[in-house]
Subunit: 194 residues, 2 copies
DNA sequence: TTTAAAGTTGAATGATCATTCAATATTATG
DNA sequence: CATAATATTGAATGATCATTCAACTTTAAA
């Protein structure tokens, strides 16, 4: 069905789309621009992605897959150590690894599409349910938390993390940024207290 | 400088822009479409808003002004009663008044612009600083909280509220939605405990 | 009432858009 | 090697875009 070439091309196109979206926003990244950026005619892009909507929904899958990756290093660690201090991965949640993993502008640009596209909304919902499940699994490894409702806890932790990401993305002042991060980290540590 | 007519026209145009953006998204709401919607030539819109960017930045001001309004009824109450149970306005924060006040799709669509526009970012930041200040003032009215750092508390409350709004906007199932709301409300009540 | 300013119209601009298509080149298959 | 499938090209489509402009109408000021 899908050849090596077609798989590579699709990947190349989506990555080009993503790169240009970082600079111009998704809404200003046309098929023609992607083509010029990659040195291919727009018709080739449409050969692999028949409509712009399909192209966008592939970009979203690409982004959501990336986001899930924040957990893979932590989960690997857990396999080896059989124990990880929750504080360690809370730190990781607040670290700038996420910003490195995926551009905030592109991410929120995609997110804003959920309100007019049911499929995109479902994809985002699934990602977030997965993120919470993963966090729950990690919390379950910690004996100190075995009295706690870890499902509830992971909801509570994530709502702080996500609120923090939203709010922090407006803060320019470096010092203020660090202050706020500390506040929100403490807020999560408080939740983790036995 | 600005006549009655020009003030009314500008308002009419921005509101038309907002209405169409609810349905199509900002990125798909052109000046021509706004004109058709309001029964006026696009050139008239450009007479009042010389560029599309100016039009967008006016839409954003319009939206942010609206958001601040969630507090005015609460603050009015406080003036009369000289006391309001914080639980009451936490409820209000989580109520659907906000969704009524401003469409989530338009809101997040505007928000995603902060990443490529410094002015818009500043406007959003100012709104959120104001929201937190307002909440602090309300918390300060409550004697039960006079041992607490109300500035810190308002940060912590809002980060939950904003994370919740983000997350809840993906949830379709009504029952699940109510469950989550209750979780996040409890999380805030916990913060308010003396 | 004259005149200036502000408001409004509609047609025209060139740029860019997503998408289509037929033609050509490359690769895989039998 | 032949042939079918896949990959790629480049030109052309009509729609829509933000913006410009000159002409016209209404309102305000003097």
């Amino acid at each position: 069905m899908s050849t090596r070439v077609s798989i590579d091309r699709k990947k190349e196109i989506i990555e080009g789309f993503y790169e240009l979206s970082k600079v111009n926003g998704i809404e200003n990244t046309s098929i023609a621009k992607i083509g010029k950026h990659l040195g291919m005619p727009p018709s080739l892009i449409m050969h692999y992605f028949p409509t712009r909507d399909i192209l966008i929904s592939n970009l979203i899958s690409f982004i959501l897959k990336r986001m899930l990756r924040i957990y893979t290093p932590i989960i690997k660690e857990l396999r080896v150590q059989n124990y990880t201090d929750p504080v360690t991965f809370v730190d990781r949640l607040f670290s700038r690894d996420w910003n490195l993993l995926i551009d905030d502008g592109v991410f929120y640009g995609c997110f804003s599409l959920i309100f007019r596209n049911e499929t995109i909304k479902r994809e985002f919902r699934n990602l977030h349910l997965k993120l919470r499940e993963n966090l729950k699994e990690i919390l379950d490894q910690d004996e100190k938390l075995n009295q706690k409702d870890t499902a509830l806890l992971s909801e509570q932790i994530f709502v702080v993390v996500e609120g923090a990401y939203y709010y922090l993305s407006m803060i320019e002042d470096e010092e203020m940024y660090e202050d706020k991060v500390q506040i929100f980290k403490n807020q999560v540590y408080q939740l983790l207290k036995p």
